[in-house]
């Protein structure tokens, strides 16, 4: 770890550089002070205890002071000045200075934080207690505790019912988020992201196409686009888990929504914040290889052969070396993360300006990820009119490696597959000859296209890159016509261009056409425009409060994909210009989508006790047939704080029940209602022929619908020291839009149809407590856990299994089963008798029915959750987050591959193989099963039905390579884990020190460890895995661990400064 210290040193040097420049930025707003007088005061609690560190601020300025250990303060201020006194855990107090010189302020405890305001759908702020559905919000301080480049990862383990799956540890690789299980069989199930009122695209684009340049979701890693946000800019993330909470988003609400609000400048002095972080990461877990047997295999006659990449060979001799090819390949990754912001404001205006730079070197040689962001948020008031703008610009670059699949149809292999299966008896670093030419293990024995590409060649010679430039922003206007009526308008844009470059160097182990080099470029231009008008009415009469909101929005998505490919470079210069026209091809694809919505919300409350809310939205989508493109979504919710009816007591402080019902949905993909033609085919007689393609457009398509119910209970005990929030929900998504194979009597093979229901039922529980709360020591803890059960029913007859990814490992595949599990795994099974005995053939090998469509497991965990802790001792804070999961199958595809190669430790016993089962001694129609045990010894030969006897070595090898994987569940584990996802120790400089440093208002140092501990029964890589990455539709590839880039653990060191 010598390297890490070097980085730390570099960080300190860097900090030194920043100090003089930031000093210039700090501006003090100086107020004139006429006729000042000295006053003193003391701030106490209702029980008379002094409040230490309470902030005393002169209203309208940034000037003020804080109370000392006795709760006392003094100031020189004129009479009539208003002071705002605030302290964490207490309600704010206002004090106007009169004639007196000495004041006593009593602060009421705000233990219940009942006044908590959260951001709900359409950016509407509401008191949490008024809601009839579950909303959880994370504020910036919680998000920044363990800062990651991807804001999604900051949510992991912190909110019940939120599942985050990080797709491996590659630099720049994305994560997937699912709220309460997926609702769609073949559509994206990730929630809608909204940043400052504008929908923010979060797709994981696999730019390129398997039929064009061989690119697949399993070829490499891709970012999810929420990564373009600078996490430091986020003020809060509000998670609208249920459909009722997100109902105002109508067609886009069925997977829930995450509302991100970015920071605003605060009234007062201009503030400069700077944070810097150094992060070091290393592979968390690596696959284990056996190092007892060398590369080679035994043929049926028992002769050793070495023309193989498998490791079924002879045992290592004393002089043989077993290389740690895997361990040597991965290195320690590092990242530098710096960000700076300037913010400020006056009574009528505020601004926030930020810049950040994230620089990461991946754990795979040559891979990296960097990201640069800028943001400006500003707002200005003119009387009743407020205008504002938020603009963000970002650039992201990734240099990647291949993962499991390689490029489709190109030969060669994925980098990770090769790394994990490279025989330890060979030195993987030997990829070049001494003269610099390519080293080929089987030169002369096979064609270049049949070689397994050396991973070092892949990462050093070839390249896979992506590059994204994005601008997002909005302008907004709010006009408060009367205090009971306002109108607001917001127009926004989300525009990015993401370009993928693939380069295969000449000499690669790829298909012949590409052996003299190939390059492809895929450019996706994404543009989203939206316009949103809302008006809000308030009315209060006696104990009743009424609120009516009406609004309309128009949204427009436009995507253009351009693909270019060329191969066979004319000379050693790699550009499209250096390729003959005949070897170049291009493709252009357009996709357009528009949505118009009209929505409204009516809320009524009585005595701050009973809350009712109704929402309705009608959407018109361009993607649906004209007669079905208008559809209405209603929702209603009720919240009842029944503790208001109970006498005041010290046990049950607060209790609320809530219930909601909602209907939301999804429209479909563009251009699915029309049928398109095949390309032109010349027919008999030279006539030009055109005909319909085998995919039918569906002019009858209806939107997918989700009906959901939610019941919840919120309670606080012992003046808020203990809280319980529990939710039960049930939803049914019907009219699923799927594209299965159909009866061809329709005239077509494929067609998007409405069929099938997905049901999700689940509970979420969140317990919060403050076990310790003294003057110097506070321990806050939150335990959350959830359970979800996703099932599928009513698929059209003939469609019993839906596959949504191209991830197939061995015979196992991610699959949704009709009348079965949404997140199932299909696979093959050994044939068994009714009693469960394995049926063997007469030679002793397990038999099977040749089908790989059996249900073998469910990827959905039984329970998952997290325990989040924050222990504050004076200026020290220790936070740690444990997350856990019980149950849920993970398919260890990596081990399947290693087993096939004779590299898995499970293949270590090669001297004897004992197979127990039954053999049918009757006929096929009337079987008679007899128990039998077969033993095969390496040194002997057996009758296996061939004309000559088969060597035991060869039989044992075949058993592991062929027969054993036919029981797919041999590689499946019901996974439990307990993970120390993060631990952070931070120290904030005391106020006493800061007052001495003129310009520094805050200073925090932190050390964070991530993934330092993982206790699990899973034997492979990190069980949090998704072989096809983050953007997969339907039940996704979560639960498939197949030759991904290993997840990482890391340590980071950070500093935050405020000026």
């Amino acid at each position: 770890m010598n390297k890490k210290w070097r980085y730390l040193l570099a960080l300190i040097v860097l900090l030194g550089c920043f100090v003089p420049t930031t000093q210039v930025c700090a501006v003090e707003v100086v107020q004139s002070a006429h006729q000042s007088k000295s006053i003193t005061g003391v701030v106490k609690t209702t029980s008379g205890e002094p409040v230490i560190g309470a902030s005393i601020l002169i209203q309208g300025t940034a000037r003020g002071t804080i109370t000392n250990v006795d709760g006392k303060f003094s100031l020189d201020i004129p009479q009539g000045t208003k002071l705002i006194i605030s302290a964490v855990g207490y309600k704010k107090v206002e004090l106007t200075i009169g004639k007196g010189n000495s004041y006593t302020v009593t602060m009421e405890e705000d233990t219940q934080t009942l006044g908590e305001v959260v951001v709900t759908a359409m950016g509407i702020k509401k008191e949490k207690k008024a809601l009839g559905y579950s909303v959880q919000e994370l504020k910036s301080d919680e998000l920044m505790k363990v800062k990651t480049a991807n804001p999604l990862n900051s949510l992991a383990g912190k909110i019940a019912g939120v599942t985050i799956t990080q797709a491996g540890g590659a630099a720049g690789s994305g994560a997937e988020i699912i709220l309460r299980g997926g609702t769609s069989l073949e559509r994206d199930n990730q929630p809608l992201f909204v940043v400052d009122g504008i929908i923010y695209d979060n797709q994981t684009s696999v730019n390129g196409d398997s039929s064009f340049d061989g690119m697949m979701s399993t070829t490499t890693t891709n970012s999810n686009r929420v990564m373009d946000i600078n996490p430091e800019d986020i003020e809060s993330m509000s998670v609208l888990k249920g459909q009722a909470a997100a109902a105002l988003y109508g067609s886009r609400a069925s997977a829930g929504a995450i509302i991100i609000t970015t920071k605003k400048g605060k009234e007062g002095s201009t503030q400069v914040s700077f944070s810097s972080k150094l992060n070091l990461v290393w592979a968390n877990r690596l696959p284990e290889q056996q190092k007892t047997y060398k590369r080679g295999y035994y043929n049926a006659s028992g002769d050793l052969q070495d023309y193989t990449t498998n490791s079924w060979g002879e045992a290592y001799g004393a002089k043989d070396k077993a290389y740690d090819n895997i361990g040597d390949f991965f290195k320690t990754g590092s990242s530098f993360d710096n960000s700076v912001s300037v913010s400020g404001g006056s009574k009528n205006g505020n601004f926030y300006l930020s810049a950040s730079r994230f620089d990461q070197n991946g754990i795979i040689p040559t891979t990296d990820f960097d990201k640069t962001t800028f943001r400006f948020n500003g707002e200005q008031k003119y009387g009743k009119l407020t205008v504002g703008a938020n603009i963000a610009y970002s650039q992201a670059h990734t240099t990647k490696s291949m993962t499991s699949a390689g490029l489709y149809g190109s030969g060669g292999n994925g980098t990770m597959t090769s790394v994990y299966t490279w025989a330890p008896s060979d030195d993987m670093t030997h990829y070049l000859n001494t003269d610099g030419t390519k080293y080929r293990m089987f030169a002369g024995k096979q064609d270049l296209a049949d070689d397994v590409e050396n991973p070092y060649w892949q990462v050093h010679k070839n390249s896979l890159k992506d590059d994204t430039e994005r601008i997002t922003g909005n302008i907004h206007v709010v006009y408060d016509i009367f205090d009971w009526w306002n109108i607001s308008y917001r127009a926004g844009v989300d525009s990015y261009t993401t370009t993928n470059n693939t380069f295969i160097a000449p000499g690669g182990a790829v298909k012949i056409a590409w052996q003299n080099g190939m390059m492809s470029e895929n450019e996706e231009r994404f543009r989203y425009l939206s316009s949103n008008l809302m008006t809000n009415f308030k009315y209060k009469i006696n104990d009743f409060d009424f609120n009516l909101m009406l609004g309309t929005s128009t949204e427009d998505w436009n995507t253009v994909i351009n693909r270019r490919l060329g191969f066979n470079f004319a000379s050693d210069f790699y550009s499209f210009a250096n390729i003959e026209p005949a070897n170049k091809s291009f493709q252009e694809l357009h996709s357009r989508h528009r949505l118009v919505g009209v929505f409204g919300e009516f809320n009524a409350s009585w005595k701050n006790m009973l809350y009712l809310g109704f929402t309705g939205r009608n959407d018109w989508s361009s993607t649906l047939p004209v007669k079905n493109r208008s559809y209405f979504y209603p929702a209603a919710n009720v919240g009842f704080i029944f503790s208001e009816l109970l006498p005041k007591n010290n046990i049950l402080t607060y209790a609320k029940v809530r219930a909601s019902v909602a209907g939301v949905g999804k429209d479909t993909n563009p251009s699915e209602t029309n049928t398109y033609l095949w390309g032109v085919h010349t027919q008999l007689g030279g006539l030009t022929g055109l005909g319909n393609s085998w995919t039918r457009g569906n002019p009858y398509l209806k939107p997918e619908r989700t009906k959901s119910y939610e019941l919840g209970l919120e309670t606080r005990f012992f003046n808020g020291r203990l809280g319980l929030d529990a939710t039960y929900y049930s939803n049914k998504s019907y009219n699923q839009i799927i594209s299965p194979r159909l009866s061809q009597t329709t005239g077509y093979i494929f067609c998007s149809v409405n069929a099938g229901d997905v049901r999700n039922k689940g509970i979420e529980v969140s317990l919060t407590g403050q076990p310790i709360k003294t003057r110097n020591l506070t321990w806050e803890t939150t335990l959350n856990f959830s359970h979800n059960k996703g099932t599928v029913e009513k698929l059209i007859n003939g469609v019993d299994i839906l596959y949504v990814t191209d991830v197939q490992v061995g015979n196992a595949k991610a699959a949704s089963f009709n009348n079965g599990k949404f997140m199932g795994i299909s696979g093959s099974e050994w044939a068994r008798t009714d009693k469960g005995q394995i049926i063997l053939d007469k030679y002793g090998m397990p038999t099977w029915d040749g089908e790989s469509t059996h249900y073998i497991g469910n990827r959905e965990p039984k329970i998952q959750g997290g325990l989040n802790n924050s222990i504050q001792y004076k200026n020290w804070n220790l936070s740690f987050l444990l997350d856990f999961r019980l149950g849920g199958a993970v398919y260890n595809g990596t081990d399947y591959l290693l087993t096939n190669y004779g590299l898995s430790k499970r293949t270590l016993n090669r001297q004897t193989l004992t197979i127990k089962g039954v053999v049918n001694t009757g006929t096929t129609d009337t079987p008679v099963y007899q128990d039998q045990t077969f033993t095969f010894n390496a040194g002997e030969s057996y009758d296996m039905g061939a004309s000559t006897k088969t060597s035991g070595r060869s039989i044992i090898q075949d058993y592991w390579g062929t027969y054993y994987p036919r029981e797919s569940s041999n590689f499946m584990t019901q996974v439990n884990w307990l993970r120390l996802r993060s631990v952070t120790l931070s120290y904030s400089c005391p106020q006493s020190l800061l007052t001495k440093l003129k310009y520094i208002k805050g200073c925090t140092f932190s050390v964070t460890g991530t993934n330092l501990l993982l206790l699990t029964n899973y034997k492979g890589l990190d069980p949090e895995a998704s072989a096809a990455g983050s953007g997969t539709i339907g039940s996704s590839s979560v639960g498939f661990d197949y030759c991904g880039v290993p997840a990482t653990a890391g340590m980071s060191f950070g500093v935050n400064l405020t000026f």
Binding site: I481, W485, I487, S531, L533, T552, T554, E588, L589, H590, R592, H593, R594, V596, V598, S621, S622, T623, L624, R629, P670, S671, T673, N674, T675, Y676, L677, W678, H681, T682, Q683, L684, G685, L687, T688, G689, L690, G691, N692, S693, W694, R696, G697, Y700, P740, R741, L742, S743, Q744, T745, T746, G747, Y748, C751, V753, A755, I796, N797, G798, V799
Partner: protein, 612 residues
């Protein structure tokens, strides 16, 4: 007042955002042309191709059932082996239905809409005719099929019984005739711009439709009461009355025809029988079929068409040898009979084979042999395949030519890429007439029609062979038929009015209609009886094969195909099972289609819902 102004402003804003209804009309892919853009003259040849392809597959597969052809003994356990051995196997069933629905009929609704939009009535008539042909073919093969709900919004269309499909096809062919008679708008492209069958000749189209109607109505010959000979004879008067108005499709072999169709990538210009039988070397003529050609009615006079319908080949000696017919009654069918043949063209190399009893076979260069040590197979070199080479397969010509210049396979009348497709022809009409009058007892009219039919068939083949004359005069399979041979046959073999039998009529029809699925329909109408088909017998291996007898029980006959496996049986499972009581039964193969039942009551025995 101010308040009203604001409300007014709001209303305006809402209107402004919702008033543009065409704002949402952007759901058409700007990159790929959609179905509404295809013109009538581009769709018609497309539909014609896929209909023909399906018909070609049906022709070749049913010709194995009727024992016109047989499969190599070594391929007994393949689809063609099962067909030839009367073992119902659902590998048979998919292709025809797939090409008809996916390739051809998927275009029907859009084509009709376009025709009506532009007033292209002749195109519309042709389209209705193709639809009727497609469903009639499926009715004859599968018995039941989704019809009224097919090609619509239903994703699991209900099946219709054979009667509904049959009557629907009759009404569609009437509609086709009506439309073909209707003048097209002057702005519409002429039918010739999109017709690859009749070159836009409307009269031929109309004759073809009447011919089809006559053929189909005649297929109801078992149904006393329903069988309406008066209507059939009326149709025959409007159907092709000479070879000149017959629908004979000319095909081409082009080196550039290698892009391929969308389903199998087979050539677009070539004869479709070629795609199914001429591309492989696995099929042989049977002795029953060869016997009809060489010894009709035991007269010992060879049919002049025999040379054209049986395949030929040369060896190194350049002697032309015509294939014999393999005996479908031979016990050797269970032991690899007939055996595949190999040509030893390795100059100077002798091949030696040693049988288990020590017998040695020496194969000189330039000769044919069966590459097996089983000496009982060594004589199987007398059987030739229907293989034909093709320019679009990268071969220099249609004739499979060896390096020594020998022609190793000649192809036949109906199996070369350039072979014509006799879709609806005058000879067939003659035989329908002959059959009707014979069954009525009017032997005189029957004989005249019978004789016309044979002469027309010979003439039609001869005129098709004219295209080969210049280059292939030496190839006995392609040369013109000599009038001497014709005369000898017409005068000596076909007999007289007095000795006319149903068998002669049906066998001559079988020859004229070689390699068409109509022959199977005819055979089923006559329950395969030897009155109609003298010397015909169920293939030997059927009696040896338990599984064949499971699919077609002993005493029953091969009467239909099962529904396509997987595609229909799993994706439309519920409707498939409801289509016929025995739909999922092993022996579905023995249940007659509606046209093949004497009465509705007989058909109803299979139906869950009785036919009205």
């Amino acid at each position: 007042m101010k308040l009203f102004k604001y409300i007014g402003l709001c209303v305006l804003l809402v209107l402004a955002t919702t008033s543009c209804s065409n704002y949402l009309d952007i759901n058409t892919d700007p990159d790929t042309p959609s179905n509404s853009t295809a013109s009538v003259q581009t769709r018609l040849p497309w539909m014609q191709h896929y209909y023909l392809y399906a018909q070609g597959v049906a022709n070749v597969r049913t010709a194995l059932i009727t024992q016109e052809n047989t499969s190599l003994g070594t391929r007994r356990a393949t689809r063609d082996g099962y067909l030839a051995g009367w073992r119902g196997d659902n590998s048979t069933s998919t292709t025809v239905y797939q090409f008809l629905f996916i390739g051809c009929l998927a275009n029907f609704n859009d084509m009709i809409a376009k025709c009506e939009e532009v007033g292209a009535y002749q195109y519309e008539g042709a389209t209705y005719a193709i639809k009727a042909m497609a469903f009639m073919l499926m009715q004859e093969l599968y018995g039941e099929m989704p019809y009224t709900q097919a090609l619509g919004s239903a994703v699991t269309p209900k099946y219709d019984n054979g009667k509904i499909i049959f009557n629907g096809c009759i009404s569609d062919i009437d509609k086709a005739i009506e439309l073909l008679n209707k003048p097209q708008a002057s702005t519409v492209p002429a039918l010739s711009a999109g017709d690859s069958w009749n070159g836009g000749d409307v009269n031929k189209w109309i004759a073809m439709c009447y011919g089809l109607k006559a053929r189909w109505l005649n297929n109801l010959s078992k149904k006393t009461g329903t069988y309406d000979t008066a209507t059939i004879l009326d149709c025959l008067s409007k159907a092709p009355t000479s070879n000149a108005v017959s629908t004979v499709i000319k095909h081409q072999d082009l080196a550039t025809d290698n892009i391929g169709d969308i389903l199998f990538s087979d050539p677009m210009y070539a004869n479709v029988n070629y795609c199914s039988i001429g591309m492989n070397k696995n099929t042989r003529p049977t002795s029953w079929y060869a016997g009809m050609l060489t010894n009709f009615d035991n007269k010992g006079i060879e049919d002049p068409r025999a040379d054209k319908l049986l395949p030929w080949r040369q060896g190194g000696d350049k002697v032309w040898r015509r294939s014999s017919g393999a005996d479908q009654q031979s016990a050797r069918r269970m032991s690899n009979y007939p055996y595949p043949t190999t040509y030893n063209d390795h100059t100077g190399k002798v091949v030696t084979l040693t049988a288990s009893d020590g017998t040695v076979l020496t194969v000189a260069p330039g000769s044919w042999y069966c590459n097996t040590t089983d000496k009982t197979c060594w004589g199987d070199t007398i059987y030739n395949s229907f293989y034909s080479s093709a320019l679009n397969q990268g071969d220099p010509s249609e004739d499979w030519t060896s390096t020594d210049g020998s022609i190793l396979a000649s192809g036949t009348m109906f199996t070369r890429p350039t072979s014509p497709t006799f879709l609806v022809t005058y000879p067939e009409m003659c035989f329908i007439k002959a059959e009707i009058y014979f069954n009525k007892g009017d032997k005189g009219t029957a004989y005249a029609a019978y004789k016309d039919g044979i002469q027309a068939s010979i003439d039609l083949m001869n005129s098709s062979l004219a295209a080969y004359n210049k280059t292939d005069a030496q190839n006995p399979s392609k040369s013109q038929i000599s009038s001497a041979k014709v005369d000898a046959f017409m005068n000596g073999a076909i007999g007289t009015q007095d000795d006319l039998t149903l068998g002669k009529i049906m066998e001559q029809k079988f020859i004229a209609m070689s390699m068409t699925s109509q022959n199977w329909a005819d055979m089923r109408r006559y329950d395969y009886n030897t009155t109609a088909y003298p010397n015909w017998a169920i293939p030997y291996e059927y009696y040896q094969d338990n599984l064949a007898q499971k699919a077609i029980n002993m005493g029953s006959q091969y009467r239909r195909w099962s529904q396509p496996g997987t595609l229909e049986t799993s994706y439309n499972e519920v409707e498939w099972k409801a289509s016929n009581k025995y739909a999922a039964a092993d022996n579905i193969w023995q249940y007659p289609c509606w046209f093949d039942c004497a009465t509705d009551a007989q058909y109803n025995e299979q139906m869950n819902t009785p036919v009205q």
